[in-house]
């Protein structure tokens, strides 16, 4: 076998702490290596041309590139090999950047380690073989999970691109967090005026099937051919019959139900339509508060409903939808500020979250847009905003910046002045983070035009005094303590991953970070892809994002799906398990262990054997390490290939000692 080795300098990234010239020299001495050289940037055009020329000139059978992680550039170099006429799987990478040059400063030790990694890659490649992809049909339908602004944008873009879209939303209406907002920064335009039309578009688009009050139960299959089981939760109302007239809401006697949409500012009725612009505009019953469902009394809504839509005996229903790709847009949840003792831990009614304040400001909110503080319904005159509640605080396990709180606090300060011209707002902040277009100007306006007092420092305690709250904190710019008597305190709560995000990740087989946000495939170059083919991310499920970013990601994810579906067939990854029919004894252990049901029992000339269904196999190799015969081998990660790597590292052989 003739193998070419290319050792990349990566500028000084590798060459700075690894003697790349020496690695190339030593690599040349390895068995099966016909050519070895160092190259400045292997991934650049001249670098790739160098590889292609060497393959053609020396008639190489395989290539090893020692550079960065294969998770980064393996696809790049495989394409290079194809351009030179080699099979794309006659390629191995030695990761001498992330695993060597970046984690060690000792040049001698690094060089030795790099050479070992190169030798391992060469040894693995000598045991490798050419693999050919197969083509399979795909189902050009897309599932969007989450009907917030990112999910809505993704669904609309996919639908406009001609795809069938299944949109699944957990609550009874789409709209997400944005639908709860009164106004949006930095334009101060009405949130429902810009979101409302999009929501209506979703409802009316012929290509979109909307499942509200539904959750994803189970996901089977693989890119191009997923089977998704969706639970339609019982709403106790026949939505085909419900016209959204709202008569039931007027008559319902259970008026103390939790109002989730209004962030529990005020209460709602047990049967309710989430908000006036809800899509779908259908009533649903909160089983925790409905007198009929709890005590089997009442039944007024059924009597008043003009279309007889009420069904007290409705059950959850499971529907299965076949799709080819999935966009996850499950968003975020707000930090629970009661973890902070210094802000009262939830004891003071006049300490509210920014989202509750948003509902107070909203004309469609529980107070009709008049700011009334929860304790006595009076209009507050002095309002204190506290930023970074649940952001940038290691002590509560939230070291990250939620990104949008500085902006929405400035917006709320501006709106406060608009609503109550004689009010005064104070903002306690750590740093102002306003890096978007027109964002910093917006903060300036809040300070200069609207007279908001910004105090740089943290609040140490709150205590009630004569019906108001004394906010004691530090002003680090003046270097002294400040005390403000506030009528209302608004906490700028940060974002955290949505409740249940990890459970959904397990169903989707995507990974998430320490805080529960989903991991993108590459932080810079593949921001909406995941490591699971056919699953894409949009919006805050990947990390806190404001509206423009969420919309941008929604469109980006839709574009990725449209790219995926631009072909009628996809190429399967040939790195799948293959059964050696002569060795297989038909024990069926692989069939039992396969997590995907990708192995079937077949009858081969009267004998029981295993057979891998290539399109279903995901290439985990669990079967390979299970098979007692070594008959089923995961291609490109065969026993021989892995043992070849082990042998390079561990060369004390027993045979030698016996001689």
């Amino acid at each position: 076998m003739k193998i070419g080795v290319f050792v990349c300098h990566c500028g000084s990234n590798i060459a700075g702490t690894v003697d790349v010239v020496k690695v190339a020299e030593e690599a040349r001495k390895l068995p099966d290596v016909a050519f070895a050289s160092d190259t400045m940037y292997a991934c650049s055009e001249p670098g790739q041309d160098g590889i292609i020329n060497a393959i053609k000139d020396l008639d190489l059978d395989g290539v090893v590139v020692a550079s960065c992680t294969p998770r980064m550039h393996e696809p790049t170099f495989r394409k290079t090999l194809e351009r030179a006429g080699l099979n794309r799987y006659m390629f191995e990478m030695a990761n001498i950047r992330e695993h060597v040059s970046w984690v060690g400063k000792d040049k001698e030790a690094n060089t030795k380690k790099a050479l070992d990694l190169v030798a391992m890659a060469v040894a693995k490649l000598t045991q490798g073989k050419a693999l050919i992809s197969k083509k399979f049909d795909i189902n050009k339908r897309v599932l969007v999970i989450g009907g917030g602004v990112a999910g809505i944008q993704a669904a609309l873009d996919c639908a406009d691109g001609g795809l069938d879209v299944i949109l699944v939303e957990k609550t009874t209406s789409i709209g997400g967090k944005m639908s709860k907002l009164d106004k949006t920064f930095p334009t101060v335009d009405c949130s429902s005026c810009i979101l409302g039309p999009k929501m209506v578009d979703v409802a009316q688009h012929p290509n979109i099937t909307l499942y509200a009050a539904s959750e994803v139960e189970k996901i089977d299959g693989y890119v191009g051919n997923y089977q998704v089981a969706i639970t339609k939760k019982a709403t106790y109302v026949d939505w085909d019959a419900c016209t959204g007239c709202g008569l039931c809401m007027e008559k319902c006697p259970s008026k103390k139900s939790t109002d989730y949409f209004n962030e529990e500012v005020g209460t709602t009725t047990a049967i309710n339509i989430l908000f006036p612009q809800a899509i779908p505009k259908k009533a649903s019953i909160d089983a925790d508060f409905c007198i009929k469902l709890i005590k089997d009394k009442c039944g007024i809504c059924a009597k008043v409903c003009p279309t007889n839509a009420i069904q007290y005996d409705q059950q959850d229903e499971i529907v299965t939808e076949p799709v080819g790709a999935i966009i996850v847009a499950t968003g975020y949840d707000l930090f629970d500020y009661t973890k902070y003792g210094e802000y009262g831990g939830g004891r003071y009614p006049d300490v509210i979250t920014s989202m509750q304040y948003e509902r107070l400001l909203s004309a469609s909110g529980p107070t009709g847009g008049h700011v009334k503080r929860p304790s006595d319904g009076k209009e507050p005159k002095t309002i204190v905003f506290i930023q970074c509640v649940g952001s940038r605080d290691k002590s509560i396990g939230r070291p990250y910046c939620s990104g949008f709180c500085c902006m929405y606090t400035a917006k709320q300060a501006i709106l406060t002045k608009d609503h109550m011209p004689d009010s005064q707002s104070y903002v306690f902040y750590m740093d102002i983070r306003a890096p978007g277009k027109l964002y910093d100007e917006f903060i300036r306006r809040a300070m200069e035009e609207y007279g908001t007092q910004y105090v740089r420092g943290r609040v140490s305690m709150l205590y009630p005094k004569n019906g108001s709250l004394v906010v004691r904190g530090a002003d680090t710019l003046l270097g002294k303590q400040v005390e403000i008597e506030a009528d209302l305190v608004v906490l700028a709560v940060g974002a955290e991953s949505a409740v249940g995000a990890s459970k959904l990740a397990e169903k989707l087989r995507i990974s998430y970070d320490n805080y529960g946000f989903y991991m993108e495939s590459h932080p810079k170059l593949r921001p909406v892809e995941t490591n699971t083919a056919g699953v894409f991310l949009a919006g805050s499920c990947q990390g806190p994002k404001d509206i423009p970013q969420s919309v941008g990601q929604g469109s980006a994810a839709a574009a990725k799906v449209l790219v995926l579906f631009s072909k009628d067939q996809l190429e399967s990854d040939p790195q799948v398990s293959v059964v050696d029919i002569k060795r297989c004894v038909g024990c069926g252990k692989c069939i039992e262990t396969c997590p995907f049901g990708a192995i079937e029992e077949i009858d081969f000339r009267g004998m029981t054997k295993s057979n891998v269904i290539e399109t279903i196999c995901q290439g985990c190799g669990i079967c390979t390490s299970t098979c007692p015969q070594g008959a089923i081998q995961l291609q490109n990660f065969t026993d021989n290939q892995i043992l070849a790597e082990v042998n390079v590292l561990c060369q004390q052989t027993l045979e030698k000692s016996f001689e």
Partner: protein
């Protein structure tokens, strides 16, 4: 540590592609300095790690073997790390039978975002192996001992 003292030991790592290999990459991107003894073999899933790979490494002269996969419940292949956990736990109990110190083998879970954790894992494991020193070399006297044992055992 090892490089400083000039005596590197042979440590083999089997890392799953999706979590731990990514975690080691993240550690690299974060420039978290680590001892240089470890050589990483990439496998698709910790469930791909045949316990015999670990044994083969140890018997053939590795001073330590580290297997790392995704956290339980977070496997890219749903349940591969559960298979790994069972197999490797059994292997761990079996090692003394072969006369191998169990401290020379460890399995752990590191996710793709846990660069800092990966550094800690590598540091701790390398330190442990350095405390144990190089694995005993199988030489003529050991072979002779084994032969006598084999002869008398019957």
């Amino acid at each position: 540590m090892s490089a400083d003292s000039g005596k590197e030991l042979r440590i083999v790592g089997f890392l799953c592609n999706w979590c731990s290999y990514g975690g080691a990459d993240t550690a690299g991107v974060g420039r978290f300095q680590q001892p240089t003894d470890l050589r990483i073999i990439r496998v698709p899933c910790s469930g791909r790690v045949d316990p015999l790979f670990v044994l083969k490494s140890l018997v053939n002269g590795a001073d330590g073997v580290l297997v790392s996969g995704c956290h339980p419940r977070d496997c890219h292949y749903s349940e591969g790390n559960y298979y790994a956990r069972r197999r490797l736990e059994v292997l761990k109990r079996f090692l003394p039978v072969l006369g191998i110190d169990t401290r020379r083998f460890e399995y752990t879970w590191v996710s793709a975002s846990e660069g800092q954790k990966w550094k800690t894992v590598v540091e701790k494991f390398t330190e442990g192996i350095h405390e144990l020193g190089p694995a005993p070399v199988i030489d003529a006297t050991m072979i002779a001992k084994a032969q006598i044992l084999a002869a008398t055992a019957l």
